[in-house]
Structures are given as C-alpha cells and as structure tokens.
Amino acid sequence: MLDRLDETIVAVSSAPGRGALGIVRVSGSQALSIADRVAKVGTPLASQRGWTRVAGEVRVSDEVSTPDATPLPFREELGEGQANAALPLTLPFPPRGRGVSSDAPRGREVPSGALSVPAWFYVFRRPHSYTRDDLVEVHTLGSPVVLEMVRQRLLTAGAVAAEPGEFTARAFLAGGMDLTQAEAVAGIIRAQTDTQLRAARRLMDGALAAPIVAASEQLTELTALVEAQIDFSEEPIEFITPIQLRTRLTELAGQLRRLRTEGLSAERLQELPHVLLLGSPNVGKSTLLNALSGTPRAICAAAAGTTRDILSVPVRLGAGEAMLLDAAGLDQTVDEVLAQARVLTLAAAARVDLICLVADAGAPGGALGDVVEHVRALESPRVVIAANKCDLLGPAEQARRVRELAELRLGAVCPVSALTQAGLVALREELAGVLYGPRGAGLTVEREALVLSGRHREALDEAVDALVRAIELSRATDAAELVAFELRTALNALGQITGAVATEDLLSLVFSRFCIGK
C-alpha cells in the first residue's frame, strides 16, 4: 500500500453486518471528483467547502432495466415487505427533496432506471480530514450488499480498493507521529491485517477454496512451462505445444469466469467477524450463546459435553454484527467423539477474530483448566473473559473472582449471568470494542471493514482479462515473452487470493519435472 500513496482509495468503513447506517469512505487526491461520479446531489461535491454535509442519493446500479432484473441480493437483503414498499422512505435519513436532483428515482419507479438510494455525503478537504487528504464519507443504508455496490461503483469511477490499515497508515503518514503513537498504530494495522488474514483463511476453508487453489496451481504450471520455453530454449524439450497451451488457457479462463459469477456471490455475506465461546464443559457456553443471540439455538443441559459440533449464529454487537460460535468444551477425555470435537474446537480457536473465554465464576480458577494454556499457545489471540454464573455469588466474592481472572492477563473480564442476563450489555460492548476498535493510546482509529470478497472478485477479473490477452498473444509464434508477461499478471492477481507465487517456485516446478542443464 505504501507504493501508491497518490491513488484514491475506497473502503466500507462501518462495522460489518447489517446496521441502520453504513459508511463508505473515499480518500485521496481524486476523492471529490470520484465521489461526484456516484453522487446525485444539487451542487457537485467538488464545489463544496470542507466540513459540509450534503443530502442526496448514491447510485448503486444502472444496469437495471425491468423489475425482474433487480439484483437478487438487493431484494433479499431488504426482505420481502421492504422491497415492495417505497424503499427509500423506510430509511431514517436523509430528508428527501433537498439537494436531490430532479432525475432522482423514487419508490417503485426505481427498477425502471438507474437505482439509487438516499445518502448523506460528508465532504472533508485537506488537510482537515482524518487522512489529511480530500475525503468523502457516504453514509447510507447499512446493508452489506448496498455498501458493497456503492464501493463497486466507486472502484469503477477510478478509486482503488483500500487494503487493511491503509486509511490508518495514510492518516499517520500525513500527520506525523511519535514513537508511542507509531507503536499503537502498528498494533492497529497488525490487528486489521490479522483480521483479514483470518477471514481469508475462513474463506479458503469454504467451498470456494478447492476450485481457486486448483486454478491457481494450473496457472502456476502453465506460467512455469512458458517461462521454461524462454529460459531453456536450448534444451531438446517441448515444454508445451502451442495448441495445448491455448486449450488449457481457454479452459482456465472459463473456470475463473465461472468462479467469478457463481462462487463469490455465494460467499459474499459470510464476512462477519467470528467470535468463539471457549471454555471447559458445562460452564454455560451454550446458555450464553442463546442469551446473546436471543434464540434458543444451542441445546443446553446440565450434563457436561452437550455441545459436540460447532454451532454458529449471527449476533448484534454494538454498531455491527458478528458470527458467534459455540464449540464443544475443552476437556481431557477418552471419548472418541468428544476427542474429535476437541480437535474441531482448537482448530476453530486459531481462525476466529476473538475468543470469548467463558469461566465459571463459582468454581476455583474459573474452571478454566488447560483452556488457558491452549489460548496462550495461539498466535496473538484477542480475548475477552466472561465470568459466568455470577448470579450465584455475593458481590465480594464476585469481585475477588474477577480480579483473579484479570490476573491471567489474557483480556478484560466481564462478570455475567447467562441465566439472568445480568452483565450482558457490558459484555456486548466489550466484545464490540475489541472487534471494531477504538484501540490504542488515545488514538481515534476506526476500523476499515473487510472488503475481502470484493477484492477477490477484482483479482479474478484482472486474472481473466490477462488470460484473454495471453490466449490472443499465444497465436503469434514469436511472442512467448509477451504471453509470459500476461500470465505473470494473471498469476499476481490470483496470488492476492491464494498467496504469491515466487519465481523460485516456477523454477523449482520446471527442475522437478524436466531434466534441464548441460
């Protein structure tokens, strides 16, 4: 990200999940003009002074020609009743009419033309903005789908997708900072990138992973073969025939296109941060899950080891949402099924964004057992401790337990009772605070929401475009170096999803398969 400070970046910057309000941010030298390309406002944003709020609408799509062609996710997102009602009127903001251009669509007319939704535009001019550069915030409907569409429009208009921590990095680049602040900022960036890494790992655990990995391996192999034709042309080896190359490239481009259209849309909403309830058996994890989610999703029973599979349910936390996971308790066991469940739980612990350690406040040491060891063994875990069953304790005893748990230095301790629901508000706030910030030494740093699937889609597009050019070039006989150039472009694009492929990897592939060298 440091190599493109002159470009204008965009990201969804409200907490993930559905909320009443969502924010998309654009920052950089072209922020105002790019935002103008998606904004329907009376006076262009570029003509506004700084610190101005402008009411209007934001274009989310212009491909809609008939009601039936309304993008499915949009309707799905709003729910049946809302889709048929006059959509914008269900929103609490902004007041309609002021600052909205005359061609702004209304209510049911929406599907017949370009689709827009009401929005506030906050204009900040350099250097009086968060990033100290021109910055526009688009506040609109808090639906992940709408926000993603707005982001897409801004990308099309010339912005580039922000990487995790990029807004923060720019803010501090422009502002200057002392060493303490630098450490705090480094911590924030590390946390944000780790969050994305975990989300990426989750995505790669899903159904999408296998075809993307397979496609990437194919592309790596083809690139290696084309490179070998250039670097080892003195060998009496035909690494790949022109026809084989073209056939395989065409197949590969087809596969990637299918992934682009089918695969990613299905994964799109699976981007909520993950919170795992972790603890010994029978400390009340399932009861806590039910209490936090408001649904009796998990079966609770007094017998230890009731939960064997991993349950997940979305819950609201502060301004955003998160996926709450409940897994089997960690217990030393000889039961084979329970032992398997234990493996699952430990694997989940390494992938989640936050661990909510559930302790039994009534038991010595919180009945945590070796759970603490497992957590300490993880790479930079983020932890909040819920001291459950506090309803069974007196105030003095409760304070003593909380102190005891705090001394583990794993994370903040929240006394709760899943049964009576006491302390749940504070627990939610604590979880949200850790997940979405603010964190750090008195710095106000907002969290840039994940844009993972969006980035993946762009990466796939870039790869497909490069492959198409490569196929065209492969028809010429003397353009191996240009085919290689396009294949490298595609490989770098896919590498953003599956991890970068180094030249050394390509060479190794060739050396392992072919006898090279005099």
Binding site: D178, P236, A479, G517, K518
Partner: protein
C-alpha cells in the same frame, strides 16, 4: 617497506579481472593478487561466454565499461544469438571462446591498464583493525601472503571462485585444489572465519574432455554458427575471425547402464559429497537417477579452440571414477574411440552466505572488504563478471567516500542478481535466468547501453571513445523516434506500422530511404523497432516500476533494531534481523515477510523519524 595500494583484488578469475580493471581505470592504485599469472581469465568450466540471461549480463558489463564483452568478441570462435524464434526482449548472445585465446586477451588488457600491478602469491589472511567509527566492527588494512609478504590497502575485493578450501572429487579419490592441478586457499578460509564471517559450502562439476582427433564427427549432428555473428560489445563493429562448428551427440541406455551399475562408487551418492550443486546443471549420474525414464541426454561437443586439441563434452558433467567415465564415454555415438584427456570432476568450495553482504557487495562485518563471484554463492563467468565490476567500482567509491553504484531490479540484470543475493540468499549455486527479471521487457540486450552507459560515465569508467559512440547512437535513435512519432505510413500511423510482425530492419530502411533522413546504423533502426514493438507493454510495466521505486526509495537505517518492534511477527523479526535490508523494497522481497509486516515496519520507521525531528 610494505607496499601500499588503494585496492587489492584477490583472485584473477572473471570477477577479479573486472574488479581490478574497473578499480585501476577509475584511478585507484590497484594490486591484483593471483596464484598464477597465466591462469588469469581462465575458463574453469565450459569455454563459452553468454547464453540466456547471461548474455544480457555481458552486454551490461560492456555498457558499464567492463572487459568481458570486448574479450569475448576477440576470442569468440562460434557466435550464436539465442532465442531468435522469440521476441527481441529475450534474445541473448552467446559465443564459444578459444580456451587459450580468451585468457590471453584478458591478460593483455590488464597488462596495459595503468595503475594496475599484478602480484603472484597465495593469500593467507585478510588484515584488519577495529573500526574507529563503528564499535564492534573492523575495517580492512591489507593482506598477508603465504610467503610472508604483506600488502597494505584500504579496500580488498575477494574473488576466490572454487579455490576457498577447494576439494576435487573423481570417484573415491579426492584432491585438495581449486582446479585440476592447482592448489587451494585453505588458510584464507580460516582467516575469514576469524573475522566473524559465516561460511557455507557448495559444489559444482565439470565433464570429461576428449582429444579432437579421436571423435567420429559423422556420427554427430552439426551445430553451425550464425551466418552473421552478433558481437557482445557496443564497441565492436563486427566479428571477422573464422567461425567453427560444434557437434551434438546423445547418451544412450548402454552409457546409462554403466553409470547405474556404479552408483555405489559415485561420490554424490556415497555421502562423500554433501554440499549442494546446481539443479540447472546436474551431473550425468544425477540426470540418470532423477529422470530414469529418459532414454538419452544431449551432449554438446565443443572445441576448446582453433588449435586446441581438446573437445569439451558439455552435458556429461560427472565425478564418477575414471574407469566408469571411460566406459560411459565410449558408449556414446561419436565417442566410441575417444581418448579422454582430462576426466570430469566435482569441486566443493567454501562460500560466504549472502545475508552477510550489503547491496554494494561490501561485507557488513568488515569495512572495506568486498566479495564477488562464487564466494557469493553464484555460478557462471558472467554472473562473476557483473559482480566483480560492481565490487571494483564500489571499492573505489568507498575510498572516495562517494555514492556507491546500486543498480535496481528495474535497471539491470546485474541489479536483479545482487538483489536476489541479498534478499534471498542462495542455497544452491545461483545462476541468472531471464525469468528472474520481472521487468524483462525493459531489460533487453539491445538497450543495455541506454540503461547503463550514462550511469557509468558519471562514475568515470566510460572513456571518451565509448561515450562518443553512445552519444551518436542516442541522438540517432532520438531522431528516429521524433520522425516516427507522428504521421502515417501505408495507411496507418507509423508507430502501429512499426509493430506489424512483417516489418523488420529492411522494411524500415526502405521506408526511410525516401525521406532523405539519416544515415542510420543498424543498431539505431533496431532500437527503434524494438522500442516500438514493446511500447504498450513497457508503459504497463512502467507503472509497476514506479511503484517498485517508491518502496525502494524508503530507506531503513542500518542501526534499526527489528527485534524491538513488538508488532512484527516473530518470524519477520528474525528474518529482518538476519538480512538487515537497506530499503523497504528489499524487506518486502524477503521470503516470509508479508505486506502487513512491511506496513508495520514502515510505521515504526516513520515514528522514529518524526521523534528524531521533534527531539
């Protein structure tokens, strides 16, 4: 009285020769210390210069004012431009060279170089003193020779090739030596360790050489030279010496069987050789074991010179016992009655793993001590020459307290190589491939002069004659570009016409005939054509280069304490501490360092800079 020089170059191979040549021509009083003066410029392995990726390096060495291109042009006996069937970005010159002629030319060039003294002797120790300005570090003061002499200098360029604790293997027999019949440098290895340098060990090998009169050429395929030889040097107008043929034959199952039956006597498989050899240059026994299903392997029969009786059997490098070599060679068509004049052997030697050098090729630990060539884990004459030239120049810049020569990955193959060495220290002998250069379409052999000659002119290594030639070509090419930027030809814009596949030198020359412009040389027209062909791609690549440069421009101060950066992952802290990259770009290329690590690192650096300004 102890003789005093500015710079001492140890070793007279392809790295040492370039280093001495560059240092002396830049005005430094230079001593080249070699074990044997007649061995200066010797080709230990195959008698050829250039090749894919390597030919580009030779062009760069030449564009910078080095020796290799000039020497190869004078001693080349078979010139071929490789990869002609592909685009010009990956064309690469290669030449067989006369095994006696080439070192002769190098020795002659060095003999007439002012400021240069050649000293025969074996170095036992590098002499140092504690560095006044850097506590805990030392700086070079000179060298001690085995015969008791001491030479003083402020900078030393060390190019030990395969001689540092060299050990030769032919079958179970081992001989101490750097090349067959030559001694090794053992005390020097001890001296380097004593200086605190960590040493590693690598292996390489050579094939048998046979007598030319005992080869049945009718049983072989002929490989002819190019009809019009393309020279390496920008100063060479043409190659006029006669050109010779090479031949190609193949191993067969009989030869393979001889090898297979004797693997228990092969040092590579008995555990006698434990160090790592190059995967791209495997021995014949390795080929047969790893690719058991291949019925035959190519063998190039390369004459070692016009009057040289030896033929180099390129493709069957081996360290098998001599009787197995005899049996294997005699099973090969064309070699049934061949008389082996020198058996193949493997050589193991010490090198200095490259996390210990800076991009200037100076060691981090010992000020003024520069390393070039195989001591840095590379293989190949060209790779050695490229480093030797850079080390020679930077040793001088070190003495002048002037800016060092640092070539970027976007500027030269030499830059790619040195950057690879310092960011991904090699674990096998490193050689150049064009695929290592991500900006390959820009790093072409036709434009090495445009890329590098002005850089070297500023340093003072490009003499007036070379500079005048360069300026003439640059102005001619500029006029050609101006002429073709606008206007149409054959119904299309000239630039698009130039990109047509059927448009070559002849067509352009014809088209220019009518304009009364010129005259233009072939090189001028060629650069116009190539530039036009790659225009669109180079623009795309330029964007990547711009980004690359931004990270390269962000310097990491040498005293940076990575271990104190709590938010770096443990792995990142360890690797950065070991490799101490000089820029954020270098740090980003270290394997195992993620983009997030780079951002975190950058935030720390920015914070510290701000703190220092404020304080």
């Amino acid at each position: 009285m102890t003789p005093t020089f500015d710079i001492i170059v140890i070793g007279g191979g392809h790295a040492g020769a370039e280093a001495a040549w560059a240092a002396a021509r830049l005005g430094a009083r230079t001593a080249l210390v070699t074990m044997s003066i007649p061995a200066i410029g010797r080709m230990s392995c195959n008698p050829a210069i250039g090749g894919l990726g390597k030919g580009q390096i030779v062009r760069e060495v030449d564009a910078l004012g080095g020796m290799m291109g000039l020497a190869a042009d004078r001693a080349g006996i078979q010139f071929r431009l490789l990869n002609r069937a592909k685009g010009p970005a990956v064309w690469a010159p290669r030449a067989q060279a006369d095994r006696d002629g080439y070192p002769g030319v190098v020795q002659q060039m060095l003999a007439v170089t002012p400021n240069l003294v050649v000293v025969e002797g074996i170095i036992d120790a590098i002499l140092t003193t504690p560095a006044a300005d850097h506590p805990g570090k030392t700086r070079v003061t000179g060298v001690a020779l085995q015969d008791g002499r001491t030479l003083r200098a402020e900078a030393v360029v060390l190019t030990t090739g395969t001689f540092l604790r060299g050990l030769l293997h032919t079958g179970p027999a081992t001989t101490v030596g750097g090349r067959i019949g030559e001694p090794s440098a053992d005390a020097l290895s001890v001296s380097l360790r004593a200086l605190g340098l960590e040493l590693g060990r690598l292996k390489t090998g050579t094939p048998p050489r046979v007598h030319r009169d005992t080869v049945d050429y009718d049983a072989c395929e002929v490989q002819e030279p190019d009809p019009v030889p393309v020279p390496f040097s920008y100063l060479t107008d043409g190659i006029f010496q006669p050109q010779v043929n090479c031949w190609v034959t193949y191993t067969n199952p009989v030869a393979h069987e001889h090898i297979r039956a004797n693997l228990h006597r092969a040092p590579l498989y008995t555990g006698q050789i434990r160090s790592v050899g190059p995967r791209y240059c495997p021995s014949i026994e390795d080929k047969i074991v790893r690719f058991a299903d291949k019925p035959r392997h190519q063998v190039f029969l390369e004459p070692e010179g016009y009057d040289h009786e030896r033929i180099y059997c390129n493709g069957i490098s081996t360290s098998l016992p001599t009787d197995v070599q005899e049996a294997m060679v005699h099973a090969i068509p064309g070699l049934h009655h061949a008389r082996i004049l020198q058996y193949g052997y493997a050589v193991e030697y010490d090198f200095v793993p490259t996390h210990q050098i800076r991009p200037t090729l100076e060691t981090k630990r010992v000020g003024g001590l520069f390393l070039a060539g195989q001591i840095n884990g590379t293989s190949g004459y060209e790779e050695a020459a490229g480093q030797g030239l850079v080390a020679g120049i930077n040793a001088v810049q070190h003495l002048r307290c002037a800016e060092p020569l640092l070539l970027g990955r976007d500027e030269a193959y030499i830059g790619v190589m040195i950057d690879d060495l310092i960011t991904r220290p090699p674990v096998e002998p490193y050689r150049m491939f064009t695929s290592r250069a991500e900006y390959r379409l820009h790093l072409r052999s036709d434009n090495a002069d445009t890329r590098l000659t002005p850089v070297s002119r500023r340093l003072g290594l490009v003499d007036d004659a070379r500079w005048a030639r360069f300026e003439r070509k640059a102005s001619a090419v500029a006029r050609l570009h101006a002429l073709t930027q606008t206007g149409t030809f054959d119904g299309v814009p000239i630039r698009s016409w130039l990109r047509r596949p059927e448009v070559g030198l002849a067509q352009v020359a014809d088209a220019l005939d009518g304009t009364r412009q010129g005259p233009f040389g072939t090189d001028d027209l060629w650069e116009l054509l190539t530039t036009a062909k790659y225009e669109g791609y180079v623009v795309r690549q330029q964007r990547e280069i711009d980004r690359f440069r931004r990270l390269e421009g962000m310097r990491i101060p040498p005293e940076t304490d990575f271990a104190a950066m709590a938010e770096l992952r443990t792995e990142a802290r360890e690797r950065l501490t070991r490799l101490t990259p000089a820029t954020l770009g270098q740090a980003a290329r270290i394997s195992g360092i993620s983009p997030a690590d780079i951002t975190v690192l950058w935030v720390y650096l920015t914070g510290r800079r701000t703190a220092r300004r404020a304080g």
